[in-house]
Amino acid sequence: MSAVVALTGLFDAQQIWRGRAAPVPAGEQPTGWAALDAVLPAGGWPAALSEILLPADGVGELQLVLPTLARLTQGARTVVVVAPPYVPCVAGWRQHGVDMRHVEIVHADSQDVLWAMEQCLRSASCAAVLAWPQQADDHALRRLQVAADSGHALAFVFRARRHLTQASPAALRLELEALPQTRVWVRKCRGGAVPAQPVALGRALH
């Protein structure tokens, strides 16, 4: 079969137009983790929904976002924490530089978590919204994604790792790995290729 043509030859002849993804605007919201910023297409968090998948609680999921929360609250922007699984420890958050006067904690039943998060995102008065929904299907996450888009807010959803197999409309999906060391796998990122290697997080105690 002579129909087989080498791809490189075609590209060199410039007879083929190669589509590219729309360029992602450069990072306005750095994560505070230089290694992670380097692999993310926006150079930081997208102003959209980010999903963080955990093997268990207490593996560094807050450390991932605390530098961002510290930066936002020090700029007097509001951060809302919806239905946290434990009580945020004021002294601990403060050690990470978070100004607790700009952190609002919302207590919500499991069926109201998504509603509360959507309200916060749509209001456009919150810089970041963190939530721990118990049940969130594809449809609910899509609503959050749209709300985050319209409110220009950072939305973080923390879920168990078993949800990794389900498709998700989130703009960014990160999976945390605790052993043998704390590492972050980028499982999906809109506007760029998924990096093949995980990013190590150096976990300081405070």
């Binding site: 093997p55 268990a56 609680d57 207490g58 593996v59 560094g60 999921e61 807050l62 450390q63 605390l66 922007r77 509001t78 946290p84 699984p85 434990y86 009580v87 945020p88 420890c89 004021v90 002294a91 601990g92 958050w93 403060r94 050690q95 990470h96 100004d99 607790m100 006067r101 952190v103 609002e104 904690i105 919302v106 207590h107 919500a108 039943d109 109201d112 509603w115 509360a116 309200q119 916060c120 749509r122 209001s123 456009a124 008065s125 919150c126 409110g151 220009h152 605790a178 052993l179 704390t182 976990r203 105690l205 405070h206």
Partner: protein, 467 residues
């Protein structure tokens, strides 16, 4: 001095129509049972030939079906006071005259702009509330009242122009004492110009000093002698529904009107409301009270409505509702939130206070809070639900998640990363603790804040995650 007069020719009817759709002929009647007379007719009734002053029997002969409501003097006066509160935002000197409000505006114009602009603002406000009005301005309150009575939009801005403007006004429309109004045309005195040129001495002998006082007030030779209206310190608005309402949906329309009236009243008073009560009145049982409490004083109409609606939708009606009453006693001063010129948030952003109220309306009063620290070293008591200033920086590692109560650690023995930090405290109130705190890593790779009895390193109790 410059007085604006807002004449309210259809006050009673407009007040009734605010809480019901204006469809079909409707009349207000007054008088004794066997001589009922029409005192107000709406557009549909007027087109059918009904007139103010007609006997009810004559009207019934003209038109087969129309709605008849009694003229409620108390309600009409309440509306007039409510509108005085609206006008109060434009002047600190507002007085009530029959079917009219007068306000002193010579100083207000410095703030709100020249008369045409101020008049337009007044018209927008009254139109928005659904009250038809005629507006006039003159150097005296009574002259403004008289001018508003003969035509809308009359403006006499200087003292010199006042007499010429009043020359041609009929004495019938000059709000003179009744005896004079009846007698003067018989004497050939038909206009104010003729009356004002008569010698005062003769007028006093014939009509007494009352007429002279009225004329002096009209011209400005005597102060107006009006009692200045004072805004009340509570807001109390009650409406009667036209029929028994059994589902909450039908209460939304009157509720919107009531909350927007409250907002208008608050704006006029430059105050806010922090707590108000909606009372739903039933026939045989005590009213259902819906309490709407806010974190901070507010006065935005949309926000008040949304909050009241959120609270209202949560209740279950014990029976049909006959009337609604909105009662606000807490009217603290209101300080509008300042917005930073260089605010990064988008222009359509909902203020954080409103977001907080919206969340509280659905999730409960205690659902939205901030955490602050106390000076107590015990982890259970080191923080409290209150916005607090930044306290001292803790030198020892503290977790980011704290457990509501410590949990025993099961499974393989943990790896110790840091510690111990001994906490031996609380002896003063009986809640004494003596613990060694460590940072440990579990077999799953979780980092925890855990304690055990002093010097033991076993029997671990988890107290938080370094998440």
């Amino acid at each position: 001095m410059l007085w604006a007069c807002v004449l309210l020719p259809h006050l009673a009817l407009d007040g009734v129509l605010r809480h019901r759709p204006d469809d079909g002929p409707l009349v207000l009647v007054a008088g004794s049972a066997n001589a009922r007379t029409l005192v107000a007719v709406n557009t549909a009734a007027r087109e059918a030939g009904l007139r103010v002053g007609q006997r009810l029997i004559a009207a019934q002969a003209l038109l087969a079906h129309f709605e008849v409501l009694p003229y409620d003097k108390a309600a009409t006066e309440r509306w007039q006071r409510f509108l005085a509160a609206v006008a109060y935002r434009y002047s600190s000197e507002v007085s009530l005259l029959p079917h009219a409000l007068v306000l002193e505006i010579s100083r207000s114009m410095g703030l709100f702009g020249p008369w045409p602009r101020l008049a337009a603002m007044l018209r927008v406000d009254f139109d928005a509330l659904g009250f038809r009005q005629r507006i006039a301005v003159a150097p005296t309150a009574h002259a403004a009242w008289v001018l508003a009575g003969i035509g809308d939009g009359q403006a006499v801005l200087t003292n010199a122009a006042l007499r010429p403007a009043l020359q041609r006004v009929s004495v019938r429309k000059s709000h003179l004492p009744d005896a004079a109004t009846e007698a003067l045309p018989g004497m050939g005195i038909r206009t104010l110009g003729q009356l004002l040129s008569l010698p005062r001495d003769g007028l006093r002998r014939r009509f007494g000093t009352e007429l002279l006082t009225v004329l002096d007030r009209l011209i400005g030779d005597q102060p107006a002698g009006l009692v200045a209206w004072r805004p009340p310190d509570t807001f109390d608005l009650r409406i009667e529904l036209t029929h028994e309402v059994e589902n909450l949906g039908a209460l939304i329309f009157p509720l919107r009107r009531m909350t927007s009236d409250l907002a208008v009243y608050l704006a006029g008073r430059d105050g806010g409301v922090q707590r108000f009560v909606l009372q739903l009145e039933h026939r045989d049982r005590p009213p259902t009270a819906v309490v709407v409490g806010l974190l901070a004083p507010e006065r935005d109409a949309g926000m008040l409505f949304e909050l009241a609606r959120g609270r209202l939708e949560q209740i279950r009606l014990p029976g049909p509702v006959l009337g609604m009453r909105l009662l606000a006693r807490d009217l603290p001063p209101f300080v509008p939130a300042g917005r930073d010129l260089f605010d990064e948030r988008p222009a359509h952003a909902l203020p954080i206070e409103q977001l907080r109220e919206r969340l509280r309306a659905r999730l409960g009063d205690q659902a939205v809070y901030q955490l602050g620290s106390t000076t107590d070293p015990r982890p259970e008591l080191a923080q409290t639900v209150a916005a607090g200033a930044d306290a001292t920086h803790e030198r020892h590692p503290r977790p980011s998640w704290l457990f509501a109560r410590p949990l025993p650690l099961r499974g393989a023995p943990p790896r110790i990363l840091a510690g111990p930090e001994r906490l031996e405290t609380g002896w003063w109130d009986g809640g004494e603790v003596c613990r060694d705190y460590y940072v440990i890593e579990t077999s799953l790779g979780q980092r925890a804040w855990a304690f055990c009895a002093p010097g033991e390193q076993s029997g671990w109790m988890l107290h938080g995650w370094f998440a």
